[in-house]
């Protein structure tokens, strides 16, 4: 079945225009492999930064699985994101060590500055904010991360610096 699919979807407020060609590319790559649903969904997340709803319908149609089934998979694994994500993913560790050393204040400080809470994204899609469990570097507690960059011994001042630094980068 090769059906052209409308490439815009306006149901989600923040959802950008989705070019389904990217999804098709991913599907082509795994087309003939049995059990390809997971790699296809991972590929889609890599291509768009999250799994847009319209790609779910598209994958359902192309791989002949139920949209509901895909949603089931997407919600089962924590790795999948169903909303657009920011360019910079801020993770604040709320594990025991970090908690003891003031993670709560770090969290509050980020909130004061970018105005979003756990699993939320700023409207300009610069930042996504996430609270996570132990990041495995308790020696540096309280710990935060921005994408792959680690920031140890966090302070309120460091929060300011981080926001300043990443706000100046292009998105």
């Amino acid at each position: 079945m090769s059906e052209a699919v409308a490439t815009t979807e306006t149901t989600e407020v923040e959802e950008p225009v989705i070019d389904l060609a990217l999804a098709e590319e991913v599907i082509q790559k795994y087309k003939d492999i049995p059990g390809n649903l997971m790699p296809v969904l991972q590929g889609i997340q890599d291509a768009y930064g999250y799994v847009p709803r319209i790609t779910v319908d598209y994958v359902a149609e192309r791989l002949n699985v139920y949209p509901s089934q895909i949603y089931g998979v997407l919600t089962f694994y924590a790795q999948f994101h169903l909303k657009p994500r920011g360019k910079f993913i801020i993770r604040v560790c709320m594990g025991t060590a970090c908690h003891v050393l003031g993670a709560e204040r770090i969290k509050e400080s980020f909130y004061d500055r970018i105005g979003i809470g756990h699993a939320e994204t700023t409207p300009d899609r610069r930042f996504t904010f996430e609270l996570v469990a132990c990041l495995g570097a308790c020696g540096m507690a309280p710990l935060s991360m921005v994408n792959d960059e680690t920031y140890g011994k966090m302070t309120v001042q460091k929060v300011d610096e981080i926001i300043k630094e990443y706000s100046s980068l292009p998105i």
Partner: protein, 815 residues
């Protein structure tokens, strides 16, 4: 066979049986919650734990564990009882226990299990769930607070319905059952999920707060919609049908129903039912008594001879049809009787009648799951006969039976695993079937040699030639022929009826030729099965409610009305104004006829034109037999008394026969005995599930006439058909069916929609040479470019204003 001991009882079972199956065979009751005999073993709830001597140290789920030789099973030891009690306590930990207002109360497996295991207190305590209740659709309430995560709804919607509307969402403690992106159910509303849900998490909204379960009487009956002949149980209270009740042991379909059967019952006790006869006086239909009405009709029919005619709906019982036929042919003296607009039954009456030597299908619905290959002509069966569709789903999904499809549009069937679809241009089915037959001959795959006439005729149908005509590649045609020939058992299915003029005698001939040449007739799991539209379509043919010697067919009768040669027309239950093609001509005929009598449940568009309207009973108020499309004859009896002053037609036509000096059969049994096709079946002995009437085959190779349908360039090829949610026009009086599909629509492809800038739900105009109609557009992945599909049920925007009965109509679509 494997022999084992359960609770000291020895039992021998098949080697692929589970402990649960074996216990059942031994008469030992093991409680279950997530297990269902129709579904694959799942093993989620752990209600069915047992002890097995050979597997000491842990408890074993009976529903998933296969039996082994010499196994010793104990089903109710103290540890087992303790474990079950814990399972129940855990289940009820977050469950609201709002049984007093739950419609499932009295029919709830959690309630029953808690009762059986005396779980009257909970050692654990936790907060109750507070999920929002889903009221996003008119028919199914989803209350996840009551869900026990048995997964039956998810599994039935996948394994049997093949719709996949429901799924497990999230994991761990947060797991719920839901839909994609937590949106509204994208659903067929077959209600299968409701019926298997052990608790009140899924409920039928139309039944909410109508009655406690135990306060209803459950009356067994046969669905009055399509030709599948599903058995239903009606929930009756205060002489009203309040719901349908699920019974997993009912019928070949194990209680499965479609949206019409499950939710379309409201027409029975509808306020719109006609309560008294009506007689036209001063151009107004006014209430009248039966005596006056019948006297008037009798007077008009008396001596009318061939100036009278009757059209009957194949929803009437066999016995009613026998009496109406007797009335017309013997008392009135007219052979002008017909049904289904004439062409609606031609595939079987004329097509199979000639090709198989009997106007009936050679195969039954039960053959579908016994076959090796199913060849479905058009994919519509899952919409016209949804429960037959379920049989196909199960055959393909569970048994790996091959599915080949020849169709002018895609559909749910073509999405089944491994399904092979030959997408042909509208109106080219017969040529395509001929080409398949031609390949059978050319490649020496025919088991029965072709007659010289057929062989010669097929010369024009080489795959290459036909490829161009049908748009199907020659190799695909060859592959289909080879697959069909290679299958030991193969069954051909097609849908016929009012909306399927393309399923005509020629199509039946072409299909029958395949079966004859391929050697697929007369054995189990093989043959031809025509899926006829109405609940008694086959019965109408068996009774012979077709034009007698020299009689007029339905179309000729209407023409006769217009021309003035037919002066009295009796229409029993048909609604030609909406359901016959060419509305303008139908109306003209009914206007012209001097005297029009309509017997119906409702004041239909046709009844509104009548001189006398006779209120008659629904299937729930009468006795008699219906014959399903595969010649299964089933008996019904009244579940409720007649609504208002309505009468069963058996009585109405009996009285008319008497008024005209004849002698009607006094009982249904007597009338039934007059049906030659049912010789050997005794009315009195017909039990649940009925009996199959014999089909004696005398196959003949008939050369089909091939008419190529061409649609002018720039026009859409409009296909007519049935919508899943409806059957004929009667379902338009079933509130449930209307609540999910209440408006006329046309389906077009995404590309066409994009080209014309038409959005989903937009109002569009269909225009043909005969008229224009405004309907809503639906953008559908099923349709190919240039092809449009419109269902025919809706009076408000009746498709027969643009459709005059052709298999394919050229239309323009505009905004």
């Amino acid at each position: 066979m494997v022999t084992l001991t359960i609770d000291d009882k020895q039992v021998s079972v098949e080697k692929d049986a589970t402990i649960y199956d074996a216990a059942k065979a031994a008469g030992v009751n093991i409680p279950i919650l997530c297990h269902d005999k129709k579904l694959k073993p799942f093993g989620a709830c752990r209600m069915c734990l047992v002890e097995v001597e050979q597997m000491k140290g842990r408890l074993i789920p009976a529903c998933t564990t296969p039996v082994t030789e010499g196994m010793i099973v104990r089903s109710s030891t103290p540890p087992v009882e303790k474990a079950r009690k814990l399972v129940l306590e855990l289940l009820m930990l977050n469950h609201p226990l709002d049984c007093p207002v739950c419609d499932k109360g009295g029919d709830c497996e959690l309630q029953n299990l808690a009762y059986d295991h005396k779980v009257n207190s909970n050692r654990l305590a936790d907060e109750k769930f507070h999920h929002e209740i889903d009221y996003n659709n008119p028919l199914i309430e989803r209350d996840q607070n009551r869900c026990v995560l048995c997964g039956k709804c998810v599994r039935i919607c996948d394994e049997i319905v093949a719709r996949g509307a429901l799924t497990f969402i999230s994991r761990g403690i947060e797991t719920t059952i839901g839909t994609e992106f937590d949106g509204p159910l994208s659903c067929e509303f077959c209600g299968s999920c409701i019926s298997v849900c052990p608790v009140g998490a899924l409920l039928a909204r139309p039944f909410k707060f109508k009655s406690r379960f135990w306060a209803m009487t459950k009356k067994k009956s046969v669905c009055g919609y399509c030709g599948t002949g599903c058995n239903v149980t009606l929930g009756v209270k205060d002489n009203k049908v309040l719901t349908t009740v699920y019974d997993e042991n009912q019928g070949f379909h194990n209680g499965q129903l479609c949206v019409r059967g499950r939710f379309g019952y409201q027409f029975i006790s509808s306020d719109k039912r006609l309560k008294t006869p009506l007689i036209r006086k001063n151009d107004q239909l006014v209430e009248a008594g039966w005596d006056e009405a019948l006297a008037l009709v009798a007077e008009r029919l008396k001596g009318a001879g061939s100036a009278a005619a009757a059209l009957a709906t194949p929803r009437m019982t066999n016995e009613e049809l026998v009496l109406l036929k007797q009335l017309m042919t013997q008392q009135v003296g007219s052979q002008n009787i017909d049904h289904s607009a004439g062409y609606g039954h031609a595939a079987v009456s004329e097509g199979l009648g000639k090709s198989l030597g009997v106007a009936a299908s050679s195969a039954t619905i039960l053959d579908i799951q016994k076959s090796d290959l199913i060849l479905a002509i058009k994919t519509d069966v899952y919409e016209t006969h949804p429960v037959v569709g379920f049989e196909i789903n199960m055959a393909v999904k569970n048994k790996g039976i091959k599915l080949q499809i020849i169709s002018d549009k895609r559909g749910k069937l073509s999405r089944l695993p491994g399904a092979n679809l030959l997408l042909n241009k509208p109106g080219s089915d017969v040529a395509l079937l001929n080409a398949v037959a031609k390949v059978l001959l050319d490649e020496n795959l025919a088991v029965t040699p072709a007659t010289p006439e057929l062989a010669a005729a097929l010369n024009d149908f080489t795959p290459e030639k036909v490829a161009e005509l049908t748009g199907v590649a020659a190799d695909a045609i060859r592959d289909l022929a080879r697959a069909y020939a290679a299958a030991e058992k193969a069954i051909i299915l097609f849908t016929s009826g009012l909306a399927y003029p393309g399923a005509d005698a020629q199509l039946a001939h072409a299909a029958a030729n395949l079966a004859i040449l391929g050697g697929k007739l007369g054995k189990e799991g093989s043959g031809i099965l025509a899926l006829q539209e109405k609940n008694n379509s086959q019965g109408a043919l068996d009774v012979g409610f077709v034009p007698g010697q020299g009689g007029l067919d339905a179309q000729q009768i209407l023409a006769g009305c217009s021309a003035g040669s037919i002066k009295t027309l009796l229409i029993a239950g048909e609604n030609p104004v909406v359901s016959y093609p060419a509305q303008a001509q139908v109306k003209k005929a009914l206007d012209a006829v001097e005297f029009l009598v309509v017997a119906d449940l409702f004041l239909t568009e046709t009844a509104q034109m009548a001189d006398v309207v006779l209120p008659v009973c629904s299937y729930a108020e009468k006795a008699g037999t219906f014959t399903a499309t595969d010649r299964r004859v089933q008996k019904i009896s009244a579940a409720i008394p007649a609504v208002g002053q309505s009468k069963p037609e058996f009585q109405v036509y009996g009285e008319l026969i008497s008024l005209l000096g004849g002698q009607p059969a006094a009982t249904q049994a007597e009338a039934f005995a007059q049906i030659a096709a049912y010789a050997g079946i005794s009315y009195a002995e017909l039990g649940e599930g009925g009996a199959f009437a014999a089909v004696k085959l005398q196959p003949v190779q008939v050369v089909p006439k091939v008419v190529t349908v061409a649609v002018d360039a720039g026009k859409f090829a409009l296909l007519t058909g049935a919508a899943l949610y409806h059957c004929g026009t009667m379902s338009l009086y079933g509130e449930g069916t209307v609540s999910v599909c209440g408006e006329a629509y046309v389906e077009i492809s995404r590309n066409d929609a994009a080209k014309m800038n038409i959005s989903e739900g937009a109002e569009v105009k269909l225009t043909s040479s005969t008229g224009t109609v405004s309907v809503k557009a639906r953008i559908s992945p099923r349709m190919s470019e240039g092809v449009a599909f419109a269902p025919y049920h809706f009076a408000e925007a009746s498709i027969n204003t643009v459709w005059s009965g052709a298999a394919v109509t050229g239309v323009t679509i505009s905004k």
